[in-house]
């Protein structure tokens, strides 16, 4: 019996917890959007899992964790051919399983932001590209031995690699596809409320559950208290951000906003992701507090000033809080953070890394969405939008009573 076995087991179990996050994402997206597009959301989530896993198996993993070429990209292990026996200190199979499930998660973030007006085929093409190129490329830089990791950039569980990247792609997608019909009238934003808050709440709690695989699992090492420490910081940041969003929305808008409270939990969880293992409890609380509040401000800002229509708040929750959280590592890391006497060096690296990854995610997704927009089109017809994607693109309604 060695640590090797126990850690392999742990990483495997953590992956399974992460897998359920797909159910969480599905329910959050379904709940926060209109009932007439619920089937489409479901189909997007299923196709994301399917494509994510297959594409990552074929090329994504190779690009991300294959033999490094110039700090930019991996170059072997396509189809897992020539895989080693172990990786990251655990059985190769555990390692790959964990990574494969992460891969699909990143893409899923985009599906909520472009909900309600995007062609199914356009989303599918983007998803393939994201899981073949965007995610593995940036993932290689950060985790696969690429230049950012060599530089000392720290992203513990994917605050940037998964969430900020997903969020920035979401930003581009939502911008290029344009707002849903009726979202802006005479230049003023109008709310298009989601159709099922309890389902969205279920989704958030399932995501939170999965996050205890996502963050603690990322140590790949259950023998160290760091893993459980990461769980506690995850719990604290999520809790504080939930409360912060609830109170802040109450102060700002007069009533505790349900949607923002649910998003608040996610904001805190995303915010802590990059540094869960290396910030202390107080760091976690402050990160949760800031993320909870900044998310609320950002949701309104993006909705009303930037005028990008993001039905589920993915840009603010994943993009903003993912980026913020990664930068906060430079402030709150108990070993090298500015506030803990570590000076500016790590902070600089973190900011640099976030900028590079953000710029890459934005440019690459602009290319894909841009080319599709010019050619096949990314937006459904006005009629389809009016009557719902479900009825026309999938020939069925999500809910049937008579």
């Amino acid at each position: 019996m060695t640590d090797y076995i126990v850690n392999s087991m742990w990483v495997f179990i953590a992956s399974v917890l992460v897998f359920l996050m797909h159910a969480g994402f599905s329910m959050v997206e379904v709940g926060f959007t209109q009932s007439k597009n619920a089937v489409n959301i479901i189909m997007k989530n299923f196709v994301t899992v399917a494509i994510g896993v297959i594409a990552y198996f074929i090329v994504g993993f190779a690009f991300m964790y294959g033999k490094d070429a110039g700090g930019i990209i991996g170059t072997n292990m396509f189809f897992l051919i020539n895989k080693p026996d172990s990786m990251g200190g655990v059985m190769f199979e555990s390692f790959f399983f964990f990574q494969a499930i992460f891969a699909a998660t990143c893409v899923t973030i985009v599906s909520g932001a472009v909900a309600g007006r995007t062609k199914f085929s356009a989303y599918v093409i983007f998803a393939i590209f994201a899981v073949v190129v965007i995610y593995p490329l940036i993932g290689h830089w950060i985790w696969g031995g690429g230049f950012l990791s060599k530089l000392g950039f720290i992203d513990f569980a994917g605050g940037t690699a998964v969430h900020a990247v997903g969020g920035f792609c979401a930003l581009v997608g939502a911008k290029l596809v344009g707002p849903r019909k009726g979202k802006y009238k005479e230049g003023r934003a109008k709310a298009i409320p989601g159709h099922n808050i309890p389902l969205a709440a279920l989704g958030v709690l399932i995501l939170w559950f999965g996050w205890f695989g996502f963050n603690p699992g990322s140590t790949l090492d259950i023998t160290s208290p760091t893993t459980m420490h990461a769980a506690i910081t995850t719990l604290l940041s999520g809790a504080v951000a939930t409360l912060a969003a609830l109170v802040f929305s109450k102060v700002k808008y007069g009533k505790p906003d349900a949607g923002l409270t649910l998003n608040g939990a996610l904001a805190g969880l995303v915010g802590i992701t990059a540094g869960a293992s290396m910030v202390d409890y107080f760091g976690a609380i402050i990160i949760g507090l800031i993320c909870g509040i900044m998310m609320v401000i950002s949701v309104q800002f993006i909705d009303q000033k930037v005028k990008i229509d993001d039905p589920v708040g993915a840009i603010s929750v994943h993009g903003l809080c993912g980026a913020l959280g990664t930068i906060f590592v430079g402030l709150f890391s108990v070993t090298d953070g500015l506030f803990y006497g570590g000076g500016l060096s790590l902070l600089g690296i973190q900011v640099f890394g976030v900028l590079i990854c953000g710029a890459t995610a934005i440019s690459l997704s602009m290319v894909v969405f841009g080319i599709m927009k010019k050619t096949k089109g990314i937006r459904i017809t006005k009629e389809m939008e009016d009557s719902g994607i479900d009825k026309i693109e999938h020939g069925i309604s999500a809910y049937i009573s008579l």
């Binding site: 003023r188 934003a189 109008k190 709310a191 409320p193 929305s249 700002k252 808008y253 007069g254 009533k255 906003d257 949607g259 923002l260 998003n263 609320v296 949701v299 309104q300 909705d303 009303q304 708040g313």
Partner: protein, 119 residues
């Protein structure tokens, strides 16, 4: 054939149970209920949803449709007024229509007879 009248009462869902009870007491035995959305003077309201104004300009209302013949229309109206009146906008409206005929499927009775919900 004596006159048969249809009375449509559109009002707040909250008041429904009480109204139904009172109408029963004056002998109204049959009714059909619709869940509708409405606006009138009560123009809806603006809530905040995720920090963005959400205009709810149709409010959930309930419509009771009552066809009467023996029970006087005026009695139904006065009961409705009594139960539903709060003085606030949104108390609702009553619409009166003429009914040409009524048939009770089970017995084949027509007109006023068809409305006699006594066994």
């Amino acid at each position: 054939m004596s006159k048969m009248t249809r009375i449509d009462i559109i009002t707040r869902p909250e008041k429904f149970e009480e109204l139904k009870q009172e109408l029963n007491d004056i002998g109204v035995t049959g009714m059909t209920v619709y869940q509708v959305l409405g606006c009138g003077i009560q123009k809806g309201k603006t809530e905040m949803y995720r920090g963005t104004p959400l205009e709810i300009n149709l409010l959930p209302k309930i419509k009771l449709e009552i066809i009467v013949s023996e029970v006087p229309v005026s009695k139904v109206i006065s009961i409705a007024k009594q139960v539903l009146y709060t003085g606030e906008i949104g108390d609702g409206k009553i619409f009166i229509y003429n009914v040409e005929n009524v048939i009770k499927i089970r017995t084949g009775e027509e007109g006023v007879l068809a409305l006699q919900n006594k066994e």
